[in-house]
């Protein structure tokens, strides 16, 4: 029996385990604490032997078997039936058998039913636990002495738990500590069974968790295979007669057709479609559909004189033309044939490309996309805008009145506010002051490095100009000034009591020589920019003549400084400037400040210290810029030969772009071929300026020309500014690829002063 039991145990181990533990618990001690119970279970399992099973009382064994019977459990019954002989008869009984015993107390016989043990079909997982609180958060019992209640409603006390040291010692001492896990329900460590450990191992190694499961079981053939074939027919009825007798009804139908054929009602094998010829009829006699007909395909061009078999002789190609025609690709040819003259009609041969041409026409008809185009039939001259004649827009400079020669490339000029003097500087460091009308040089200064910028102070009461050279700005006073003006100038540039120096020391040093060493030769005031800021190549005055902005080639903060003459103070308006600052300008009326970087022009409000707008001229490299005296318009010129006119109230994009366009038509060999071109500057634009009074502006370029424009701006917002090209002034030479470097207007007259790379400075008069 033991052997049998073991056999069965091996087959159904896991199932058995459940039974085992439950029966075991019940039998031994129901009220046993889980720890002990676990220990005992442990022992039994670890032994792997079930000798104590026979020691269990018969009742339990019987009960087991009975329950299995009720379940209809398979194989085990056979083994256990032998053990429980007496219960065999009652196999079909649902309830367990009662026993009649003599009561100890009363001495009367009484019927005792065995205790009902909830078993396999009921949820055994909850049965075996003594704690019956269910699946609740166990921390509710944290500060209570018990952990729940058992089946009888008695509290289950918390097992004694050691402190952390005990725990640690336990793990060290107890060799099985690593196989135990904390059970929340009992608040104690519970050793895992070997099955559970095996399950964990299997999961860990990605095996099938069920040790019993065999994935490679041999198939069992139940209905197929040898000896199981079906041999009996489904029906034993004999084959009907109609299977082999011809159909009467079919015959009748066929005969009907045969009769029809014989009578000629049906013509067999009449070809229905193959030989049908198209039948024409009056297709257009019915009313046509309402829709418009599809557009007809364009007709091919009609033949011209050149296609004649006997054309006039001038149509015949010369040898040169013939060669050219033959060399051209067939698609590029203007005509698909060469004119040819035959003396007589009978000598005209067949045209070899006839079929090819017809085919090409058909390809055009069904494969070429067709587009309807509107043909303009206008005179091209009407497209040229009608502008007033330059003659009606006089005065503007038209001729060169005089030329002042510098020894080297003259880079900068400035005209005095009264319009009588010109001061010019060159690369060698020479600054000359001369009269605009006669060109007589009055004074010459000499500086160490080259002159980057010269700008006359716009004040009327004082008279001086600033020369930018070599990290410094020098304020020079022209000679022969009236006494009052001279005094005012001195007061401005070298005041007797200097203004207080600002708290924060500026890197810009203002210096004035001591009063006894003052001469005409030396500057009265020198503003030394921080070293390394390079040549100041642009200087711009505020209209009131107190503030002056300078731009240097190098240095921090974009090289931009704003100097205040009265306070002898310089400040850098920008902490950091995006891009490479080319130019700066003061707005003529408002406290606005224009800064041109390489590609953008930014407009700042100086009083509020914020960016107003960014203008996008679309020029690769801005070279020059000027603002209209009204303050609403700005022109920007670039090294890429473009001039942009901005209406500041309108948009960030230019209102008008003037650019170089050159078109050449070189047609044929005869003199009638037209060659025309029109262009704005053909090389980089160097300088631009609006006239302060007259509606004029001028631009100069590296191509050695100056272009003068009429630029009329209207007060009302609706009328666009009128720009009329007036005159191209030529007279400057181009040296080393540089042409006219700067143009300046004379403030009182429509006269223009221009400095060229050849060292010449021209005055253009109207």
């Amino acid at each position: 029996m033991v052997a049998d039991a073991q056999l069965t145990k091996k087959r159904k181990q896991s199932h058995y385990d459940d039974d085992n533990t439950s029966t075991f618990k019940d039998a031994v001690d129901i009220e046993m604490l889980s720890e002990e119970e676990g220990d005992e279970g442990d022992d039994g399992l670890y032994d792997g032997e079930y000798e104590n099973f026979p020691g269990i009382d018969v009742e339990s064994d019987e009960e087991d078997s009975e329950f299995e019977d009720i379940e209809g459990e398979e194989d085990r019954n056979d083994d256990e039936e032998e053990d429980s002989q007496d219960t065999d008869i009652e196999n079909h009984h649902v309830f367990p058998q009662a026993k009649d015993i003599i009561s100890d107390i009363t001495g009367q016989p009484k019927r005792v039913f065995p205790e009902i043990e909830p078993d396999y079909d009921s949820d055994s997982s909850t049965e075996d636990a003594p704690n019956r609180v269910g699946n609740i958060p166990m921390h509710w019992y944290d500060d209570l002495p018990h952990v729940g209640y058992d089946m009888d409603g008695k509290s289950v006390l918390k097992p004694a738990r050691g402190d952390e040291l005990d725990k640690f010692l336990e793990t060290v001492e107890d060799p099985t500590a690593w196989t135990s896990a904390f059970d929340k329900n009992t608040q104690s460590d519970k050793p895992l069974t070997s099955e559970e450990l095996d399950l964990i191992r299997r999961l860990y190694e990605n095996e099938v968790p069920d040790a019993e499961y065999d994935p490679y079981e041999p198939t069992t053939e139940w209905f197929t295979g040898k000896g199981k074939e079906e041999v009996m027919p489904l029906s034993a009825a004999p084959e009907p007669k109609r299977r082999w007798i011809p159909s009467k009804w079919e015959k009748k139908k066929v005969m009907k057709i045969v009769r029809a054929i014989r009578q000629g009602r049906i013509v067999p094998n009449k070809p229905k479609t193959a030989t049908a010829r198209p039948q024409f009829y009056a297709i257009w006699s019915e009313t046509s559909a309402s829709y418009a007909p599809p557009l007809p395909a364009p007709k091919p061009a009609l033949p011209t004189n050149a296609e004649s078999y006997n054309p006039p002789e001038e149509y015949l190609p010369t040898a040169e033309e013939r060669r050219k025609w033959e060399e051209m690709e067939p698609e590029d040819r203007e005509r698909d044939y060469l004119p040819h003259k035959y003396p007589s009609l009978r000598l005209v041969p067949g045209y070899d490309r006839f079929i090819k041409e017809r085919f090409n026409r058909q390809l055009d008809l069904y494969m070429a996309p067709r587009v309807q185009r509107v043909k303009l039939n206008i005179d091209p001259e009407s497209l040229i805008p009608k502008l007033p004649s330059p003659n009606s827009l006089k005065p503007f400079p038209t001729y060169r009145s005089l030329r002042f020669q510098h020894p080297d490339l003259a880079r900068c000029i400035s005209v005095s506010p009264d319009g009588a003097w010109v001061v010019s500087g060159d690369e060698k460091g020479t600054v000359s002051l001369w009269e605009i009308i006669v060109g007589r040089e009055v004074k010459r200064w000499k500086f160490g490095g080259k002159i980057g910028a010269i700008q006359w102070c716009p004040r009327n009461d004082a008279n001086y100009f600033v020369v930018g050279s070599e990290d410094a700005l020098h304020c020079l006073v022209p000679p022969n000034l009236p006494q009052t003006v001279y005094q005012a100038t001195l007061e401005t540039l070298a005041p007797t009591n200097l203004p207080p120096t600002p708290e924060t020391p500026s890197p810009v040093k203002w210096s004035t020589p001591v009063s006894n060493s003052w001469t005409d030769e030396t500057p009265l005031l020198t503003i030394r920019l921080p070293s390394g800021s390079g040549l100041p190549n642009h200087v711009a005055w505020h209209r009131k003549g107190d503030y002056m902005a300078s731009v240097c080639t190098g240095g921090s903060q974009g090289g931009v400084w704003i100097h205040q003459i009265s306070r002898r103070h310089s400040q850098a308006p920008f902490k950091k400037v995006k891009g490479n600052v080319q130019l700066v300008l003061f707005h003529p009326l408002k406290p606005h400040f224009f800064v041109a970087t390489q590609q953008y022009v930014r407009m700042y409000n100086l009083s509020e210290q914020k960016l107003l707008k960014t203008l996008i001229p679309g020029i690769k490299w801005i070279s020059s810029m000027d603002v209209h005296p009204s303050g609403d318009h700005l022109i920007v010129g670039g090294y890429d030969r473009k001039l942009c006119w901005f209406d500041l109230e309108l948009s960030d994009k230019p209102y008008k772009i003037l650019r170089c366009v050159s078109v050449f038509f070189l047609c044929g060999t005869n003199n009638q071929s037209s060659f025309w071109l029109y262009r704005y500057h053909s090389r980089a634009i160097r300088s631009l300026q609006f006239h302060p009074i007259y509606p004029l502006f001028a631009s100069s370029s590296d191509d050695g020309t100056i272009q003068v424009f009429h630029a009329r701006v209207y007060n009302d917002l609706m009328t666009d500014p009128l720009i009329v090209p007036l005159k191209i002034l030529r007279g400057h030479g181009v040296a080393n690829g540089l042409g006219v470097l700067q143009v300046k207007w004379c403030s009182k007259h429509p006269w223009l002063v221009s400095a060229g790379a050849d060292g010449g400075i021209n005055v253009w008069c109207s």
Binding site: T273, W284, I355
Partner: protein, 619 residues
């Protein structure tokens, strides 16, 4: 917030489909799609933005309107094409299995599509159809002249020949031919039908071979459509005219290569067949007009106007035509005898309006073709303008008269002059009555609308007058005739001026006179012809060439100065043009200058040729 718009759900992306998508939608092969497009007249479109239409891709594809493709989807022809595909499978299966009778019955019941509905769809009215038959006629005439082979079955060539002949018969019958042009590609004809100008090109009679790079399938598909279209048009034209369509074919004549003559024009009211050539005999006052009579008339006319019309190049002979008109009038006069409404335009008054061309130009004449001339061309031309024509038996049967006929006035001959040593006096007599002309004379007469002088076109003349296109060219193109006249005018002017100079020479000073001539120069310095005239004047007045040139240069400079200022102003204004206008302007200027250049080149060449000719004449 507006509704979210998904990309590719509206606009160009929806309106256009690529060819591949179209084929996928129609579930047919590319060849079938092409066939459908040809038959239905559907062609690719050019979207304004290819990228937008192709969902962002700029790959080179052809686009169709999505609606066009949807319109193709329920086309009966497409269904037939699918049926044909199934049929082809069945047939090849039957043949592969050796089921011959099945294959035969399949072949007999093969699906064939009809194009009638397509014709009606594409050309809702008859005028639409007539407007669009240029290409159809060209193809029909081309295939009529092709040799048949495996790809071009003989039945097709035969059908094309028949259609071509029917068309020509109609044009001849209605006298609607207007212009003709002998080009190096073939002969262009232009007819006026239903107020539409129909132009077609007929190749010269040589065997054409289909080149290898031509897809015959495409041509045959077009031809299929064109045959049907032309069939319906001819049916309508013939029936509107009260003629039987199709005109019966005289098999015997056809055997003898009678060409157009083998068809018989038959009135629907009359049952008897009457060849058209029979009623072409001209009658005047009930008397037959023969070639001799015509010659007499011409001679008498010529004698009258001999002195005056010496210079004019041609003689207008309208005498016999009036009688012809008179004869035609009798048809119309009948209904309007009792009451006449003057205000209403009658058919007669409409016909009296100056027509663009004289349709009975050749009616007084009888022509005979020499055997080397192309009979189909000349016969068609002459009969379209009312002439009678005969030909030798070698050019085909059915000639109404033979060479010995006395009524022959012109012989169209295209071979060099040769001696006739063994000529009977009778033949010589006949020869003297006839004019021997080259075929170009016929075409030039038609294009000029009048009978030209025969002498420049006489037999054996190698330098025929140039044959010009009657269709004209664009405005301002080089006109070979006008420049010739212009030069003549200049020569005349120079002559008269120099005459005048001779008179004045005694009276006036040389200088003043020369300056007068130069004044003229300053006005017309641009025109090279007038410049030459002025140079001649100066030479006549005794100036040497260098001083003349200096003066010319001076005067030019003077005039230029003024022009230059204006020109410069304009050039500066060009700077202010917007980009769009500038591009348009450049384009227009480019095409203008190209045309002017072309013209100038031709004029230059012409001058060169004339100069050479003069040199040759002098030496």
């Amino acid at each position: 917030m507006g509704r979210l718009r998904q990309k590719g759900k509206a606009g160009a992306a929806k309106a256009y489909v690529t060819r591949t998508v179209a084929i996928k939608k129609l579930q047919c092969s590319l060849a079938d799609f092409r066939r459908l497009c040809i038959l239905k007249g559907i062609f690719p479109r050019e979207p304004r933005s290819r990228k937008k239409a192709n969902k962002g891709s700029s790959a080179p594809t052809s686009f169709y309107y999505a609606k066009d493709i949807a319109y193709l989807a329920h086309e009966p022809v497409l269904r037939k094409l699918r049926e044909h595909k199934a049929f082809a499978k069945k047939l090849s299966r039957a043949i592969g299995r050796g089921e011959w009778s099945d294959a035969k019955s399949l072949e007999e019941n093969k699906p064939v599509y009809k194009l009638d509905h397509i014709i009606k769809e594409r050309y809702p009215t008859f005028i639409d159809a007539v407007r669009d038959i240029d290409d159809a006629l060209c193809m029909i005439f081309l295939f009529a002249s092709l040799p048949s082979n495996s790809r071009v079955p003989p039945s097709l060539v035969e059908n094309c020949t028949r259609l071509a002949a029917e068309w020509q018969l109609y044009v001849m019958h209605t006298r609607s031919l207007r212009k003709a042009f002998l080009s190096i590609k073939g002969v262009y004809y232009q007819a006026e039908i239903m107020d539409q100008h129909v132009t077609w090109l007929v190749p010269y009679q040589f065997t054409q071979n289909i080149p290898a790079d031509v897809d015959v399938r495409v041509m045959l598909t077009f031809l299929e459509l064109y045959q049907t279209l032309l069939g319906f048009i001819l049916f309508k034209l013939y029936t509107d005219r009260g003629l039987v369509y199709p005109p019966p074919l005289d098999a015997k004549k056809d055997e003898g290569a009678a060409g157009i003559g083998a068809f018989v024009i038959q009135d629907t009211t009359q049952t008897s067949t009457r060849p058209i050539v029979k009623n072409k005999i001209v009658e005047v006052d009930g008397r037959l007009v023969t070639g001799k009579d015509v010659h007499h008339t011409i001679k008498s006319l010529a004698a009258n106007t001999n002195t005056s019309t010496d210079a004019s190049a041609d003689v207008d002979r309208t005498g016999p035509e009036t009688t012809q008109k008179h004869e035609e009038e009798e048809f119309i006069a009948q209904p309007s005898k009792t009451q006449q409404v003057a205000s209403l335009p009658t058919l007669h008054s409409l016909e009296a309006l100056p027509s663009s061309s004289n349709t009975s130009l050749f009616s007084p004449y009888a022509f005979f073709l020499s055997r080397e001339t192309s009979r189909p061309i000349v016969e068609f031309l002459i009969r379209s303008f009312g002439g009678r024509i005969g030909w030798p038996a070698s050019s085909g049967s059915g000639s109404p008269f033979d060479e010995s006929d006395d009524s022959i006035t012109h012989v169209i001959i295209d071979r060099p002059l040769f001696e006739r040593p063994d000529e009977t006096p009778e033949e010589r007599e006949r020869r003297s009555h006839r004019k021997y002309i080259q075929p170009q004379w016929v075409v030039d007469c038609i294009n000029a609308g009048k009978i030209l002088l025969e002498a420049p076109y006489a037999q054996g003349v190698t330098e025929l007058p140039p044959h010009l296109s009657p269709f004209g060219e664009f405005d301002g193109a080089y006109d070979p005739l006008s420049t010739a006249n212009g030069n003549g005018a200049i020569d005349e002017a120079v002559g008269s001026e120099s005459d005048m100079n001779e008179d004045e020479e005694e009276v006036e000073d040389q200088d003043t006179e020369a300056s007068g001539a130069l004044n003229a120069i300053s006005v017309v310095t641009d025109d090279p012809a007038s410049l030459r005239a002025a140079e001649l004047v100066a030479e006549a007045s005794g100036m040497d060439s260098t001083s003349f040139e200096r003066k010319v240069a001076k005067s030019r400079r003077k005039s230029k100065k003024h022009d230059d200022a204006e020109e410069r102003e304009k050039n500066m204004n060009k700077m202010m043009m917007s980009n769009k206008k500038r591009k348009l302007y450049e384009k227009m200027k480019y095409s203008q200058s190209k045309r002017a250049d072309e013209r100038a080149t031709l004029e230059e060449k012409k001058r060169e040729i004339q100069k050479q000719k003069r040199m040759a004449g002098k030496s």
